[in-house]
Amino acid sequence: MASISGDALRGHLETLVLSVLRQGDAHGFEILRRIEQAGSGALSLKEGSLYPALYRMEQAGLIKGEWEDSASTRRGPRRRIYHLTSKGRRRFDEARGEFRQFTTVINTFLGEMA
């Protein structure tokens, strides 16, 4: 399967993050891992580019991040755990609807051309 990367993926990164966070709270690395897992290796994302998206989404009130408990037994720098806000949930529902409509229309064209 050809990998989806670059601009094609960046355009949908926000929706993918919202979708992943619907399954449960997660930190950056875990979000990325879930996206890769759900994409079965077809999604190829430069890992660092997740963070600007997370910051923009947090500013827009779609997600909220909190530092993990400092009493955690894990070593290394603290991680920031993100969860979906109610605004984020609404945004996800809208995005899903828009995307379904988009694929339905495109499929109609592709179907006719085949």
């Binding site: 950056g28 430069k46 890992e47 660092g48 290394g76 720098p77 991680r79």
Partner: protein, 215 residues
């Protein structure tokens, strides 16, 4: 379990975060999150690699190009915060704040004052402010880049170089012909000089970034 070379990840993260214009709190957060991610990525890669060094190298490679990421992170900083910290919180060059302040005070005194040499004070302020603006535009993460976007920088610069002298030259001609030192003439002169010099700064910045890209 072996750990990554802390300096290698820290240097990489610094390369990304240090030039970003933002509040210290935001930058600390970026550093922590990026470092935490690299550490996790390292642990994952270590399970697949033969040694710690190649695991660390792979983690850094998968993280992406630091310049591109820096731009993306800068774009995620709210515009008000970017603007504020351009002029206020430049820890690395504390004198800048003093110079920005001085130039603005000189312009205010020159504009509002009533003593004989106010034009001189005004022009000194304008000159200083122009230098500071050019200096700012020379920085990688400048505000023009944020407002106009990278590709349009040179176009705005060319416009400044073309349009600025249209204010400067008539003002100079008027001073020479009439010998008048009216504030309106100086305002036109100062505005024209600012536009021209900003244009020069933008074009220089654009040429420099193209050369860096080409290299």
């Amino acid at each position: 379990m072996s750990g990554p070379d802390p300096e290698q990840f820290r240097t990489f993260v610094e390369e990304i975060v240090a030039p970003i214009t933002a509040g210290q709190r935001r930058k600390v957060r970026m550093r922590q999150e990026l470092l935490a991610h690299l550490n996790e990525s390292f642990q994952r890669e270590l399970a697949r690699s033969i040694d710690a060094q190649s695991a660390a190298d792979t983690s850094i490679r998968s993280f992406g190009d630091p310049t591109e990421l820096r731009d993306q992170l800068q774009a995620a900083v709210p515009l008000w915060e970017h603007t504020f910290h351009c002029f206020i919180n430049q820890k690395e060059t504390p004198m800048s704040r003093v110079l920005w302040g001085l130039s603005i005070v000189a312009i205010l005194i020159g504009n509002l004052g009533s003593f004989t040499y106010r034009e001189d004070v005004y022009m000194s302020g304008v000159a200083l402010l122009s230098v500071m603006i050019i200096r700012h535009l020379y920085r990688e993460q400048n505000l023009a880049r944020r407002w106009l976007g990278q590709p349009r920088q040179w176009l705005a610069g060319a416009f400044g170089i073309a349009f600025g002298p249209a204010l400067v030259l008539p003002a100079l001609a008027k001073i020479k012909m009439t010998g008048l030192h009216e504030p309106a003439i100086y305002i036109a002169l100062a505005t024209g000089a600012l536009i021209t010099l900003s244009g020069v700064g933008l074009v220089i910045r654009h040429v420099m970034s193209r050369r860096v890209q080409a290299a």
